[in-house]
């Protein structure tokens, strides 16, 4: 410990004595680490498991329900109203939810303020809440399929009611009253696995959760990618028609459930085929959350390419810092040689270099975290979809400090080796 303190004091002295040099070197490394860190933060949030403790138990249901035979067509993850309702009726899954996204304008019906707030609606079924583990602050889900009842998210509750228990209050949507039966706590899913498309995969959770039947009865617009092979005049008219707009997720807690569900959807598909509806080859799939997110290419390939570029940039920064250090060790070889001459072992010189690299690494880490945060904000400005999702959290701070320390050490390694291998007799002349 005494030698550590000694080397630490020497390192402080070196940093002060060569401050301009070290500012340049630390900045060089910090820029590289910062850019790398910002990129990791983005990729980490993109590729994170939104619901890790049960992601293997939640499955998206994809049916080969397209009415025409197009064998090369991609998997269809949206289904018709009738298919979704059929899936809801089985008792295989622990929880089942079907949904589509809509958008409405709403206000507190009792307020004198007539300003309406734009709100994203998840038209769904009560199974949504236990399946996603949406956390209720007050109240709970609706119980009736066509109830004029809704659950609201924390953000809307804050916007309209200023927070608090709003259960029992009424929102006006398109001129009609809807009773609030539940209020959620602040809640985020990164990515929003149940809606990992339409540029929504990194948005916040929804403002309003309403019964799907109620949403369709009230003609709440379908605000998702949809397809149709026949004309439908309204949302409520979608029932019984070849209009594809609903997604289905099920929670299957064991292999037996999964096998049973696969058998069920295959049987259903065959049954429909026999009726001349489903002409494509059987390709019904159950994809768990992570398989589903991978299938939806949540991690943008451009980001992976950018990650490679930032890795190379970091390598260039290390190389530059190492070149700078080589020059410094060259100029400091007299002191190193003198220390060796009076009894320092090579390992002592290495130990001293290691302590200096730790000090440089800590300075670099602080600056790198600052740069990383700045680069992340710039990235969010350039890619608004990343807002609310990417941040430099505690694990990333630890990773950042680790990378800064390692890069600092790597930068010092070659100059240290060169320094130790210089013949003593020449350095002291």
């Amino acid at each position: 410990m005494e030698m550590f303190n000694y080397y630490f004091k020497l390192s402080i002295r070196n940093l002060i004595r060569n401050r301009l040099f070290f500012i340049l070197m630390i900045s060089t490394l910090a820029v590289g680490v910062g850019v790398f860190l910002a990129n990791i933060a983005i990729i980490k949030s993109m590729s994170s498991d939104p619901i890790p403790y049960k992601s293997k138990n939640i499955f998206n249901v994809s049916l080969n329900i397209w009415p025409n035979d197009t064998p090369d067509a991609e998997l269809i993850e949206i289904m018709r109203y009738d298919d979704a309702m059929h899936l809801l009726k089985n008792n295989i899954a622990t929880h089942t939810m079907v949904h589509y996204q809509s958008q409405v304008y709403t206000r507190d019906i009792d307020s004198t303020n007539l300003t309406r707030h734009q709100a994203v609606v998840r038209a769904t079924t009560p199974g949504f809440f236990p399946l996603t583990d949406a956390p209720f602050a007050f109240g709970g889900s609706w119980q009736q399929d066509r109830a004029k009842q809704i659950v609201i998210g924390d953000t809307l509750n804050q916007q309209i009611f200023g927070g608090g228990n709003s259960v029992g209050k009424t929102l006006e949507i398109d001129g009609k009253p809807f009773e609030i039966v539940g209020v959620l706590k602040p809640w985020e899913l990164k990515p929003l696995f149940y809606h990992a498309e339409d540029g929504q995969k990194f948005t916040t959770t929804d403002d309003i959760y309403a019964p799907i039947e109620t949403a369709m009865d009230n003609e709440w617009v379908v605000n998702v990618r949809s397809s149709a092979t026949e004309r439908s005049d309204s949302v409520s008219d979608n029932r019984g028609k070849n209009v594809f707009f609903i997604q289905t997720f099920v929670q299957l807690d064991n292999q037996q459930q999964k096998n049973a569900m696969q058998q069920y959807i295959d049987n259903y598909s065959q049954h429909r085929q026999q009726q001349g509806e489903y002409l494509r080859a059987n390709d019904n799939r159950l994809l768990d959350v992570n398989q589903w997110l991978k299938h939806k290419e949540v991690v943008d390939e451009r980001m992976l390419a950018f990650a490679l570029a930032t890795s190379l940039f970091l390598a260039v920064c290390i190389f530059n810092a190492s070149s700078l250090l080589l020059a410094r060790y060259h100029s400091a070889r007299f002191e190193t040689g003198l220390r060796r001459a009076v009894g320092a072992r090579m390992k002592d010189v290495f130990y001293q270099g290691l302590v200096e690299s730790v000090l440089v690494g800590v300075c670099c880490a602080i600056l790198a975290l600052l740069f990383g945060w700045i680069f992340l904000q710039i990235s969010i400005t350039l890619f608004p979809a990343l807002e609310h999702t990417s941040d430099i959290d505690a694990p990333l701070i630890i990773i950042g400090i680790g990378i800064a320390l390692v890069t600092s050490f790597i930068s010092m390694l070659y100059p240290l080796i060169r320094s130790c291998r210089t013949p003593l007799s020449t350095t002291l002349k």
């Binding site: 009894g343 002592d348 007799s425």
Partner: protein, 237 residues
């Protein structure tokens, strides 16, 4: 104390081999003061570097204070340099932004001395060279002669078996050179073994034993009578 037998040191480049030392034989006993003289490029500094374990040798054998040097690793060589050898360089080799205390403290740091023991040794060493009151000075605040005395104090603080001095007065004017030489003689009289490379024939003659090196070999080996008597009393080939 120092026993070199048939030491050879060859520097090789792509096309040239230079024998800096060849069949170099020298024995130095404890308490001796030996002057090594010779023209530039004769091998004096190479001898001192090999003797001080700053450079390796290609052939021969070398024992320092009973320890056979051949085959020792970096840890052992470093320990020997630290514990048994004190270096005095022509250009002092003090670290300019270290105080005298910190400069002398440097070799002691690589031994397991506690702070009190290091302080005691530094105080004693500075006392010996007459600079006890200036331990917090920087080298730049001292004259050349005083800086060389600090270098000597650094060499003495480790209580080495042998002092190796490479033209210690080469950068000093005659007055300061005389003061430094008087200090070295005093140390020798107190029991220190000293080997000093010098260009100055007067200084060499004032030292008990002279070794002349030419082309990497000892060509003249003289032992003189007491310090102030310049007449040779014995000559070996």
């Amino acid at each position: 104390m120092l026993n070199m037998n048939n030491i050879s040191r060859i520097y090789r480049s792509d096309t040239i081999q230079t024998h800096a030392l060849r069949d170099f034989n020298l024995q130095v006993n404890a308490g001796e003061f030996v002057a090594v003289t010779g023209p530039s490029g004769s091998g004096k500094s190479t001898f001192l570097n090999v003797a001080g374990l700053l450079d390796s040798f290609d052939e021969g054998s070398y024992e320092l204070d009973g320890v056979n040097i051949q085959g020792l690793g970096d840890d052992e060589l470093s320990r020997l340099r630290n514990e048994k050898i004190g270096f005095i360089f022509q250009n002092y080799n003090l670290i300019p932004d270290f105080t005298l205390f910190d400069n002398i403290d440097m070799p002691l740091r690589y031994r397991s001395f506690n702070a009190a023991e290091r302080k005691r040794r530094i105080s004693n060493a500075l006392e010996q060279v007459g600079l006890a009151s200036r331990s917090n000075y920087l080298p730049s605040q001292l004259s050349g002669g005083q800086q060389q005395r600090v270098a000597i104090a650094r060499a003495l603080a480790g209580e080495p078996k042998i002092l190796l001095a490479d033209e210690p007065t080469g950068n000093l004017d005659s007055l300061m050179a005389r003061q430094v030489m008087e200090l070295l003689h005093t140390l020798n009289e107190a029991g220190s073994t000293i080997i000093m490379v010098t260009h100055d024939p007067d200084q060499a003659r004032a030292i008990g034993r002279n070794v002349q090196v030419i082309d990497g070999q000892i060509t003249d080996h003289s032992v003189y009578a007491p310090v102030n008597n310049n007449a040779p009393i014995e000559v070996k080939a």
